[in-house]
Symmetry: C2
DNA sequence: GTAAATATTGTTGTATACAAACAAGCGTGC
DNA sequence: GCACGCTTGTTTGTATACAACAATATTTAC
């Protein structure tokens, strides 16, 4: 697949029909992180869902020690909140947080446009085009999870052109949070337009219209934010046990 | 009984800092993080210094469990690196990392200038002026640690005007890393100029010359980066035990 | 029957114990 | 004399035990 995972990011493509490699006794640490991370970011577990250490430890056949570390990392990413003595839950971003995240994305992704335009090569364009195609396919196939993920990957791939790990990680963080925000405030309609949008951006890049690229990005992010409905937060906490059952279909013993 | 390497071993629990037997019930988690964080950022412990869990646990009179969590957080902040099975050390940023950090700062701090100018009030200016005065004083008093910290606080205070937690935390991260970078590649001279610079920026803000503010910030950060000497990395790992005594008294920002 | 107080259960925070891995010191063999 | 392997010691990774706290259920008083 994509041979160019920018930065040392953890590959998020583990979930659907996972290509089963023999990853059993290998570093259990990162795999568990990835599982829960993916489960949250791709809306397999709803915001607000409790994440008890014991249950998770049982699910993944490790001790609470490991789960604790993973949850701590996820908390640092802002995907779970952990109140001092009452455990961890999948984070429920407030409206203020949501607006902050999108404001930060606007600032970052607009400001980096000139640099991106400067360093972008033909191959980059080609790769991005292909990615947009994939996204389009996913949307036609009614696979919103995959579509959202690919949309995020597009933005990540864009900034990855600069090759700055700090920026990559910051945007990765913002995009994870965006996923969560969409889970809480997202409307179920009208997001299919973004695919067209991404194609338009590439056109502008190819035409060397950098200023218009910047304006486009600003508008695009505002559009996405505008599709959110800050009145309704659809929360339906479902049991996570079955979820991780699906995720790692192979039970250890 | 051959004498082994100094700075290791179990005899570190001699710290005067925690001679109080009663205060160890309260300050568990966050204070320890702050202590080590401050120690690193303010150059009390040199990059590359080993941070053995046992020794730290003894120093702070807690178990390795706590230390482990703290080190994990610090690793996430990029202030310590932890190789899989050979422990944690104070991070030694490479030249590439250093350049990435400063590039990220340029992008972020320049891009936010318009927003800052937009939201800045008289009181903000007054507060910032006072802070610059403090910094000037520290520099005259030959207190480079304090001067560096105040310089960082100035930049943080600037972006804090926007009131966006994401941006605040990102810049905080970049600034911590900058401190580390200065510890490794910093020249001992010529940093006193930054104080004047900060005053100049405030003048521009007051004159509503936003564009010039942006250009100023760009130049300023490039100047700071230019004072670095990427050839010499002065590493002198000193014992951290005595260090925490001095620090624990005051908290960090 | 309701509400307050108490008992019980369950979950998290911290410490400690044990096992595995790395590093180094020592000795033997060539 | 040098190199290789064994052994010892130190340090990290993981699991488990125990204690403290929160939440819930139950009992009792009015």
């Amino acid at each position: 697949m994509s041979d160019k995972q920018a930065g040392r990011g953890r590959s998020v493509s583990k979930l659907p029909a996972s290509g089963d490699e023999e990853s059993q006794v290998r570093s259990q640490d990162g795999d568990i992180y990835t599982s829960i991370y993916t489960a949250i970011v791709e809306h397999y577990i709803a915001p607000g869902t409790k994440l008890p250490e014991d249950a998770l430890a049982d699910s993944f056949h490790v001790s609470r020690t490991i789960i604790r570390k993973v949850l701590s990392n996820l908390a640092h990413d802002g995907l779970v909140t952990s109140a001092p003595k009452r455990g961890a839950r999948v984070a429920q971003p407030t409206v203020e947080e949501a607006k902050e995240v999108f404001e930060a994305r606007r600032i970052l992704e607009v400001a980096t446009i000139p640099l991106i335009a400067d360093m972008m090569t033909e191959r980059d364009i080609k790769r991005l085009r292909k990615q947009v195609q994939e996204q389009k396919k996913a949307e036609l196939a009614q696979d919103p999870r995959r579509a959202i993920r690919l949309s995020g990957q597009f933005h990540k791939a864009l900034i990855a052109i600069i090759g700055n790990t700090r920026l990559n990680e910051f945007l990765r963080n913002l995009i994870s949070r965006s996923s969560l925000i969409i889970a809480v405030y997202g409307s179920t309609k009208g997001d299919t337009r973004s695919c067209q949008d991404h194609d338009n951006l590439l056109d502008l890049f190819e035409a060397n219209k950098t200023d218009e690229c910047a304006r486009w990005m600003e508008d695009h992010l505002r559009d996405v934010e505008a599709t959110l409905d800050f009145g309704t937060n659809t929360v339906e906490a479902l049991d996570f046990a079955q979820v991780f059952g699906e995720i790692q279909a192979r039970g250890a013993d």
